[in-house]
């Protein structure tokens, strides 16, 4: 199983999302977008989720288009050079009395498009993380404290295609009965055998798991974990509320960080009870650190950008692009034997 640790890609992508959200101008946002697309194009390769990335790009386009449309339809138009002189229609009173349409100015349009573009880039960063981070490795890296729920997710992911096939088989078999039911009876006739079969499978699966030693936690129940969990939640609640409502920004951020730290502590504490080893644990190595660092660098540059002044916006954008796209270079310069760095099917070798 090749490729990087999924957390590395997520760290990189989230840092870039932060950069896009706080970017000082359209050029910086474009730089982030370009960097993201470049890296995905070079590194995604045969990843199972790589096919979905174009859908995210389309979603981004849709967000921009939606913003522009909303602006044209119901936006409060700022003054400026008029692009489209549409009549102002006053909406009915039950509909808030909003002013529909109205003269569309370039300023307004540009602002709306820019805001949409920023959010679209944000979404594309998430898409890049989905495409690059291998979900198989992510599922194997589930920490011990939540390994039962993690196992449930693994089971769900493994069994879903079989259930889909079973549904097709049942549908086919119903035809053998000579009366392919129509309408609601068809739904019942197809769904119930599949459902009961899934439930029977679950018990057989459980027997197999049990007989192989599943959930053999042999430590005393920890008295500390509960309060730590509660504390983490309280801190998160306070931090989120403070960030939204209160003036004290720093305090809220501290509360959020404290909550996260407490959550990590609870994870470790609860994980100590679980005696379980990993077959091939994922290592966080040099490449992972480099990828995460490049994302962090891009974020820092974007945050510091405004301090350098507007005239340097182009330079800032270029630097952001360089930092964001750095992982792509890793793919290009990798040794021939090492990439595309995802497991090929044995049969294809």
């Amino acid at each position: 199983m090749n490729g990087l640790h999924p957390l590395a890609w997520w760290a990189w992508a989230m840092a870039l999302a932060l950069a896009a959200a706080r970017a000082p101008g359209v050029w910086a946002v474009t730089a982030v977008l370009a960097g993201v697309v470049l890296v995905v194009a070079v590194r995604a390769g045969e990843a199972p989720m790589a096919r979905l990335f174009p859908a995210y790009l389309l979603l981004g386009v849709a967000i921009v288009v939606a913003r522009v449309l909303f602006h044209v339809l119901v936006g409060i138009k700022p003054p400026g050079p008029v692009l489209l002189d549409l009549p102002t229609v006053r909406g009915p009173d039950w509909a808030v009395g909003v002013h529909l349409l109205g003269p569309v100015t370039t300023t307004g349009l540009a602002t709306a498009a820019a805001a949409g573009f920023q959010l679209a880039t944000l979404v594309v960063c998430f898409g890049a993380a989905s495409a690059l981070a291998d979900p198989r490795r992510a599922l194997r890296a589930v920490p011990g404290a939540v390994h039962r729920l993690g196992t449930a997710v693994v089971i769900a992911v493994s069994v879903t295609p079989q259930i889909a096939t079973a549904a097709a088989t049942v549908r086919r078999a119903q035809r053998l009965r000579g009366r392919p039911e129509r309408g609601w009876r068809a739904v019942r006739a197809t769904a119930m055998p599949v459902f009961t079969d899934a439930l029977d499978r679950s018990l057989a699966l459980a027997a197999s798991m049990d007989a192989r030693g599943f959930a053999r936690s042999t430590g005393p129940r920890d008295r500390l974990t509960g309060p730590v969990l509660a504390g983490a939640l309280v801190a998160l609640a306070l931090g989120a509320y403070g960030l939204l409502a209160g003036p004290a920004g720093v305090g809220s951020v501290v509360a959020l960080l404290a909550g996260t730290a407490a959550a990590t502590a609870a994870l470790v504490l609860a994980g100590r009870r679980v005696h379980r080893t990993r077959y091939r644990p994922d290592r966080w190595g040099g490449p992972e650190t480099r990828v995460a660092a490049s994302g962090a660098l891009a974020a820092v540059l974007a945050l510091l950008g405004p301090r350098l002044g507007d005239e340097r916006a182009g330079l800032v954008a270029l630097l952001v692009l360089a930092a964001a796209a750095a992982p792509a270079l890793g793919g290009l310069t990798a040794a021939p034997g090492a990439g595309p760095r995802l497991a090929l099917p044995e049969a294809a070798r």
Binding site: L119, L205, L236
Partner: protein, 308 residues
């Protein structure tokens, strides 16, 4: 499986096993607190004050999604204690798989409706904590398989988990047709509320702050809600209603046999909390062992102990 309390001695573990995964205190507290944070995250525009640091950031839901990820992780740690044994995990996984199959079937209509069927049914039969876990697990599994992960996923997970939690909290004694009707009604309400909640939390994200239908921080609550209502009516009301209708129809059609199948499985599974042999002995082991020992010593009572 019907109970036969008169024939078995008064050891509660020996009666027909609990069908629900009973949560401990820790889990209850965690779920309550998590719901508080969730409420903050969903209703964040209402809490926004003009002097707050985030008032200009339309990407707030993304930040709050990050907070929700930590919250969900914490809740997962609270849920993932000794009460989940192999059977509970397997049933959870399989029900999540069924939900993941249902999800892309409704593609073209916002794609989430049918998922609530399994979540509501699972929560009803197996309890509120299980329902909560089922909601999250189904959404995660289906995201990994089909949808990919986006900033809306933690919101969807929490929303679906609440649907499962609510289904588990409905009155227990209702059975038969009334039960199906109650679940269908609950499903309809839950679908609409889910849709509204998702719309609300992503409202500024979708529309921005400078339109006639936008949220205006600091404005009167009534005016903001009015604008929200118009926004919903204009954009996603059709989807929300469609989702509600599909859920109701699905529950009406499949509710009764599915409930029976689930209850049968739960009875066969007889979820017994699997603690550690150290402090709280595993009830399943105890009842199995006790039964075996008891009947070995008093073989003539073997017939009376057939529940086990």
């Amino acid at each position: 499986m019907t109970q036969a309390p008169a024939r078995t001695p008064a050891r509660p573990a020996e009666r027909t096993g609990r069908r629900r995964v009973r949560p401990g205190v820790r889990t209850g507290v965690a779920l309550a607190l998590a719901s508080v944070v969730g409420a903050v995250a969903f209703a964040w525009p209402l809490l926004l004050r003009p002097e707050g640091p985030l008032v200009q950031a339309e990407a707030t839901p993304v930040l709050l999604a990050g907070v929700l990820v930590v919250v969900l992780l914490v809740t997962a740690v609270a849920l993932d204690d000794g009460t989940l044994d192999a059977k509970a995990v397997a049933v959870l996984g399989l029900l999540a798989a069924v939900g993941s199959v249902l999800r892309p079937l409704s593609a073209g209509t916002a794609g989430v409706e049918l998922v609530f069927l399994t979540i509501v049914l699972g929560g009803r039969v197996l309890g509120p904590a299980f329902g909560f876990a089922l909601g999250s697990t189904t959404l995660v599994a289906s995201a990994l398989l089909t949808g990919g992960v986006g900033p809306w996923l933690p919101y969807q997970m929490l929303g679906a988990s609440w649907v499962g939690l609510g289904a588990g909290l409905l009155p227990r004694r209702v059975r038969g047709r009334a039960e199906v009707a109650m679940l269908a009604g609950y499903g309809a309400v839950a679908s609409v509320v889910y849709g509204l909640a998702m719309d609300f939390s992503f409202w500024p994200f979708a529309v921005g702050l400078g339109t006639g239908l936008s949220f205006v921080p600091g404005d009167a609550l009534g005016a903001n809600l009015h604008r929200f209502a118009v926004y919903v009516a204009a954009t996603s009301l059709g989807w929300d209603v469609g989702r509600a209708v599909t859920t109701v129809v699905g529950l009406a059609l499949l509710g009764a046999p599915a409930l029976r199948a689930l209850r049968r499985t739960a009875a066969r599974a007889r979820f017994a909390p699997g603690g550690t042999p150290g402090d709280t002995p595993d009830e399943g082991a105890v009842q199995g062992a006790r039964t075996a020992l008891a009947t070995t010593r008093r073989p003539r009572h073997a017939d009376a102990h057939d529940e086990g």
